[in-house]
């Protein structure tokens, strides 16, 4: 069983197909870097995986479950472009709220643990509004990893993070990998992605142009993938 199975996924905005029959399989425990130019459909595909958007055609299964079922959604962690925390709640209140939405047994304890992991324990009662940019980002990371999800869906996770948040995120991603979680992250910064990735997929014009394990060639020459599998400029 794959952790993610997307079969012939089409997504239309009006008549315009943003995804044109994208198919993708991700093995359990893999870390997939989803590459592609701006407008290739990375965010659209990830939003469909995170059940924020419905595919026009095609089927998506996460961990063997239909993507829209609560069982599937309970087991995924999503980090999108926005940080997804409430400015007017304190750090711990934010995490407790998401713990309740996830129907965790002990939201408070889980929240405190998560804050510990991202180094925000000392300011747990501070409002998110009063946090610095980096602290807010770490809080967002804590939110996405709150319930130790089996599948992580991260949309451009490294783009606007500061050094400390990047370190925290990388640490958490490694932990997740070692406990067997699957990770999908989109990025257009190839070098960064290659450090963690075990697999690589390339989206071109709404289709998966290449998908496979990461190779030494790609590590050595990040442009290789675009030259050999991407559409001509």
């Amino acid at each position: 069983m794959h952790a993610v199975e997307a079969e012939n996924v089409w997504k239309y905005f009006g008549d315009y197909p943003a995804l044109r029959g994208a198919s993708l399989q991700v093995n359990k425990g893999a870390c997939l870097a989803l590459l592609g130019r701006n407008g290739a459909g990375k965010t659209t595909l990830l939003r469909i995986l995170a059940n924020l958007s419905r595919p026009g055609k095609g089927e998506v299964r996460l961990l063997g479950l239909a993507s829209h079922t609560p069982e599937a959604r309970r087991r995924i962690g999503y980090l999108g472009h926005g940080i997804g925390v409430y400015d007017d709640l304190s750090a711990v209140e934010n995490l407790i709220l998401f713990g309740q939405l996830l129907n965790l047994d002990n939201p408070r304890e889980t929240a405190l643990n998560a804050l510990e992991r991202v180094g925000l324990s000392r300011v747990k009662d501070g409002l998110a509004r009063e946090f610095s940019r980096g602290m807010r980002q770490r809080l967002a990371v804590a939110r996405a990893f709150l319930h130790d999800p089996e599948l992580l869906i991260l949309d451009e996770p490294f783009t606007s993070l500061d050094d400390r948040a990047v370190a925290v995120l990388q640490k958490l991603l490694q932990d997740a990998q070692s406990r067997g979680a699957t990770i999908i992250m989109s990025t257009h910064q190839i070098r960064e992605a290659m450090e963690l990735a075990t697999d690589v997929a390339l989206l071109e014009r709404g289709k998966v142009a290449f998908a496979g394990p990461q190779t030494v060639v790609m590590l050595a020459d990040p442009g290789w993938l675009y030259r050999n599998h991407g559409a001509p400029e």
Partner: protein, 226 residues
């Protein structure tokens, strides 16, 4: 094919309308109570009936859109609602003119007028909000939602204005009760038919425009992507 059908319906509708006008103004006797002004019902009532038909069609299309996500249904829905709103306005204006003549006032807050005005306002809201939503899928989804909500409101408005403190002046219904004299029934039916044919032709025109508009949206996206 589509264009031919549109023209055929439009021309047929106009012909029926002209034939009917000839009968209404040429052959029909005046009504005993109202005199010649009663002839307004041959456009006033058909407009209302056709508006309801198109609104119901829009409701079905909206439900179908939410279920099937096919943009054709969204186009049908907006086309029908636009034509229906125009027909509602026609109904309100002709009714108001009749009221000025018969009651001496342009507007009375009675049951049928109020409900019709509310119906008009509800769907006017739909038409106003639509262009404000930029993304086509979202626009179609939200529109379907509003259309379903609006249609559910219509029976409630009817109930609300039947509350005890609301009075009525409007003539009773003519269709169900059989109060319409046999001579008038033919022109009445033809009046409904004429507006239905014309309305359908306009819906078809609007449908085509909506398709082009979607094409424009997707071309714009095409230009901005890649």
């Amino acid at each position: 094919m589509r264009e031919k059908l549109t023209y055929a319906l439009g021309i047929l509708g106009t012909l029926v309308m002209l034939f009917n006008l000839n009968t209404i103004f040429g052959d029909l006797p005046d009504e005993a109570m109202q005199g010649t002004i009663f002839r307004i019902i041959f456009i006033h009532v058909p407009a209302a009936i056709n508006a309801d038909i198109f609104l119901f069609a829009a409701l079905c299309a909206s439900v179908a859109f939410l279920a099937k996500k096919n943009f054709l249904y969204d186009s049908i829905s907006v086309a029908c609602i636009e034509v229906a709103t125009m027909l509602l306005l026609l109904n309100l204006v002709t009714g108001s003119i009749w009221g000025r003549n018969q009651w001496g006032i342009w507007w009375a807050w009675d049951l049928r007028m109020t409900s019709q005005l509310m119906c008009f306002l509800l769907y006017l809201g739909y038409l106003l909000v639509r262009p404000a939503i930029a993304e086509p899928t979202q626009r179609a989804t939200m529109s379907a939602f509003i259309s379903i909500f609006a249609f559910a409101d219509v029976p409630l408005v009817l109930m609300a204005i039947r509350l005890p403190n609301v009075k009525t002046q409007h003539p009773g219904p003519v269709l169900e009760t059989g109060n319409l004299a046999p001579v008038y029934q033919g022109p009445f039916a033809l009046g409904i038919l004429a507006l239905f044919l014309l309305g359908t032709a306009l819906v078809l025109v609007r449908l085509h425009q909506e398709t082009s508009r979607r094409e424009i949206d997707s071309l714009r996206r095409e230009l901005h992507s890649f």
